[in-house]
Point group: C2
Chain length 321, copies 2
């Protein structure tokens, strides 16, 4: 009936997502507090900041100071985002980040034009230049990403065959640059996925590229996030992006205030209960979720931080026995 | 890989759940508005009120007036809850409700004692008396229910074999009273279920009673509600309780304000996207969810009412083509 992985890797994107989208100014020290708290949970990969022009994203103006202030924990990979060489150089200059390259394509030309002002051909060329930039800076390329892989507000449903083709194009771009991707991330950028489409798309990509590691980036805007993660787990997917407490929101939803990324602690709860190893201490992660909520100053969408875990009930039961 | 049903029946419990748990007094006319709005969506079963002593549940003091005010729609089954013959007689006196009997057992003796102050033996006897009460009042018995079928705050994990046995006990009680149950509802009363336990429990019950129709009552307190519904659908379950906008809350969660019942419009969105017929107009249902939120005066937990459906994007795409 299923092909569940024994263990999953969760890439925590809450700090970057949250600091980027939250309207209020968040003190640098509190950003550092959250990243340090997350690093103490057992998470092995944390996306900390975006190195983007402060004029575009005021909440990231202190990105260098945030990274400088992190108390690095061994075994944790601290990552960041950037959009150009200037940003990449800031990441490299920090000397505290795990700097690796990403290339990205998009099966929705409409979204690509709105989001990045490029045609598919222009985007292909841009990825070649990005690969060259990584080569020039001696940065390994690890990740390929497909945005809007499950549907798009501007293009509607995306044919699965196009997604499969584009995974092939990512692999070909990497090969052309004499490198190889560690994994390909399929992003449900605008929350179109359901468990059925997760199964369909992951299944078709897997059929064509059986040895390729896949990662899922899921949005919970329509409440399908955990169900979609479950469908991914059923297909053997062992790598997920997630955001503590559901930090981040979704700029493409019908309404402001809609949930964004699938919530890390809800995903860890699911894995824990299914016996899938995450390496993460759920109680500590819930403390980090409470901290995130305190920092942003408003309720965040995650469920387990409010509903509680089952641990105390099981423990009380064992003690009574 | 799966055994999805072609169509599902959703039993809307939002009005009863919401009016019962919301602290503020809700005007009778607004309760009626919500029930009438729900009846216009294509929902075929709506649980309207509880006939319980006003001293116990002040929000249900106007239950008779609410039912009297409903504008009945053909094809919609309006139901209610009661705890004793006095309540049943109120339901019968309304002459507007679809009155049918329910019996219930609980595989957690600890929860049974806390919730109903009965031992399992006493509860068995109580069900016999309830069956007799229905017989005396010429009321057909349709539904058997198991509370806490997936785990319990007071007993911890519940052995699947005990759930299977207890389903058998429900069937035997009905048979003993010379009646038969139309279906058995498995309730995740305290939100312990995950998709894995849904598959396990539903699978074992189905193995033992392959012809028995099963219904799921799922709580979303830990964010697993839709994933659990999906797991149920994968097992062929074709009947679900749900609450519009996620009305209801969960009195057993670790924190006040935790989500309760799985949200109707999120469940309908899931089914729509998977091609499973519900007979429900999702846009109208979202309007009813907005009305529910307006009536209670605070945000309710459902996602699709905030995130929006995909219909307008698909339509824009068709018009552009």
């Amino acid at each position: 009936m299923s092909d569940f992985p024994k263990a999953v890797t969760i890439n925590e994107e809450g700090p970057r997502e949250g600091f980027q989208i939250e309207p209020g100014p968040i003190p640098t020290s509190r950003k550092i507090d959250l990243i340090d708290a997350l690093a103490s949970t057992g998470l092995r990969q944390i996306q900390t900041v975006s190195f983007v022009p402060p004029a575009n994203v005021p909440g990231m103006a202190d990105a260098d100071a945030v990274v400088a202030g992190i108390e690095r924990r061994p075994g944790v990979s601290y990552t960041a985002l950037w959009l150009n060489e200037r940003g990449l150089l800031r990441a490299l200059a920090s000397r505290k980040l795990d700097v690796f390259g990403t290339i990205g394509l998009c099966p929705s030309p409409g979204f690509l034009m709105r989001n990045q002002k490029r045609t598919p051909e222009q985007n292909h060329e841009a990825q070649r230049k990005i690969l060259q930039m990584y080569r020039n800076n001696d940065v390994p390329v690890r990740r390929g990403g497909l945005m809007a892989a499950f549907g798009c507000n501007f293009e509607g449903d995306i044919p699965v065959s196009r997604v499969v083709d584009m995974v092939g194009q990512l692999l070909a771009l990497a090969q052309e640059a004499e490198t190889a991707l560690d994994y390909v991330s399929l992003a449900d950028t605008m929350a179109w996925a359901t468990p059925a489409s997760i199964q369909r798309v992951v299944g078709e990509v897997r059929n064509r590229y059986p040895d390729l590691r896949l990662s899922l980036h899921l949005h919970d805007t329509r409440g399908m996030g955990i169900a979609n993660a479950y469908a991914g787990l059923q297909m053997g997917v062992d790598m997920f992006d997630a955001a503590v407490a559901g930090l981040g929101g979704c700029p493409f939803a019908g309404h402001r205030g809609a949930a964004g990324n699938v919530c890390t602690e809800d995903l860890v709860f699911l894995c824990d209960e299914m016996g899938i190893h995450t390496g993460i201490d759920l109680d500590r992660l819930i403390e980090a979720a409470a901290l995130a909520e305190d920092i942003v100053g408003h309720p965040l969408p995650g469920s387990v931080k409010t509903g509680g875990t089952l641990r105390k009930y099981r423990q009380a039961r064992r003690e009574a026995a």
